[in-house]
């Protein structure tokens, strides 16, 4: 990549810091320049977040139909998967999988629910009702 070709399409990171890119100068020598971003990769990041949003919406729909428990919704909301939820809460993966079922969730003790609520950074009430007030 030539020095003059370096894109400067302001992205999410570019607002906080420039990124070091390796480029070739006029004499053919490598040097570094700071880039504020590249539209090609910021749109790739947008795609990733749109996928996340769709998974959150799909999870919310499932909970509404009682096909899944609110844990699925919050797991998607926090961009986690079963492995991550298990690692943070200290449950086994198979337990988390079970807790994703609505009838099982309904019977969970507050002690167990508190572990999930703490991870998802919501109150017990919010965990059960799925109403969250995000800043």
């Amino acid at each position: 990549m030539k020095k003059e070709e370096i894109p400067q399409d302001l992205g999410a990171l570019g607002k906080i810091t420039g990124e070091v890119c390796y480029v070739v100068d006029e004499s053919g020598k490598y040097t570094t320049v700071l880039s504020n971003g590249w539209e090609v990769k910021s749109s790739a990041l947008d795609v990733a977040w749109k996928d996340v949003e769709q998974r959150i919406a799909a999870a919310a729909e499932k909970v509404k139909n009682r096909e899944a428990s609110p844990i699925l919704f919050f797991m998607e909301l926090r961009v986690m998967d079963i492995g991550i939820v298990a690692a943070y809460t200290g449950f086994w993966k198979w337990q988390v999988k079970k807790h994703l079922k609505y009838p099982v969730f309904e019977k969970l003790s507050d002690a167990k629910l508190t572990r999930y609520a703490a991870l998802f950074e919501v109150s017990l009430e919010e965990l059960k009702t799925m109403k969250v007030h995000e800043g």
């Binding site: 990549m1 999410a12 990171l13 607002k15 906080i16 810091t17 420039g18 990124e19 070091v20 890119c21 390796y22 480029v23 070739v24 053919g28 020598k29 490598y30 570094t32 700071l34 590249w38 539209e39 090609v40 990769k41 749109s43 790739a44 990041l45 795609v47 990733a48 977040w49 996928d51 998974r55 961009v79 986690m80 998967d81 492995g83 991550i84 690692a87 943070y88």
Partner: protein, 338 residues
Amino acid sequence: MKVDFQHTQAAHCENGVTTSLLRHHGVNQITEPLAFGIGSGLFFIYIPFMKINNGPAIAFRTQPGLIFNRTCKALGIPVERKKFSSPEQAEKILLQCLAEGRPVGCQVGVYYLTYFPKEYRFHFNAHNIIVFGKEEDQYLISDPVMEMATSLSSYELQRVRFAKGAFAPRGQLYYPKEKREVTTEQMKKAIRSGIKRNIRDMLHIPGPIAGINGIRFTAKRISKWRDKLGPKKAGSYLAQLVRMQEEIGTGGGGFRFIYAAFLQEAYAYHPLEELVDISKQFTQAGDIWRSAAVQAAGIYKGRIGSQADFDQMRDYLFAAAEVEKNAFQALSKIKWPA
């Protein structure tokens, strides 16, 4: 408590931590490209049975932690690396190091990294930072991808050091054990062995999913993504490929430009004309990867998306594989002076 330490920005976090810590320990010759090349950082792998954030697991560089270990070892610098089961112990040892005047490398997760923009905070646990002091409750942080040094409260630092999930850092910290001067002779030898190891990793690694073979394997897979996954998911997969290739840390073109810069710097130690030519080949490879990224963006933004467009994508990867194969073969033919 503050260690006399100079924050320097780098393209990639592990290169940056390696470079800064080695400089702090008297290795004044080291630069990011040299650290990357001596550590044989250039790689490619696509693990088809694994998913990362619901997308394909693709990497353009070697496994986390190897660049630091290999580069220090090649330069004859002993390394200390520790993991912890308790956060209290992890903080105690960190404070001890700072009190001894050591800046310390820490592996952290980015999801709870407060100074990162929200858009970048996925559950990715192989980020690297340097802690170089503590003032009241704030730890002084040198994050190589940032222009300026920053800070984290003790709670925030503990949280990222004990992030959970894949590659959980478990409080891991590491540092060179002592200050040592490195001779030009050592540098020359380290560069040569770094190149040789990289030739092995890219040309001779067994199996179809890694090295040059891995790029070809991925190319063939991509041309099937449209039918197999449907246009939308295929687009998301391509977006993930582009992020692995271009996002913070690669210096552009999936680390190919950093490697080209490394070969130019290697020339200063080994004045062999081949190195200059081969450097240009890696620049060309990086440029092909960038063109592939533009093509991929056309697809995931929905501007294009026919099977011919996916085949074009495949052909870009074939072309990059060909250029890189020739470049590494040329490197393997170099006659190194004894």
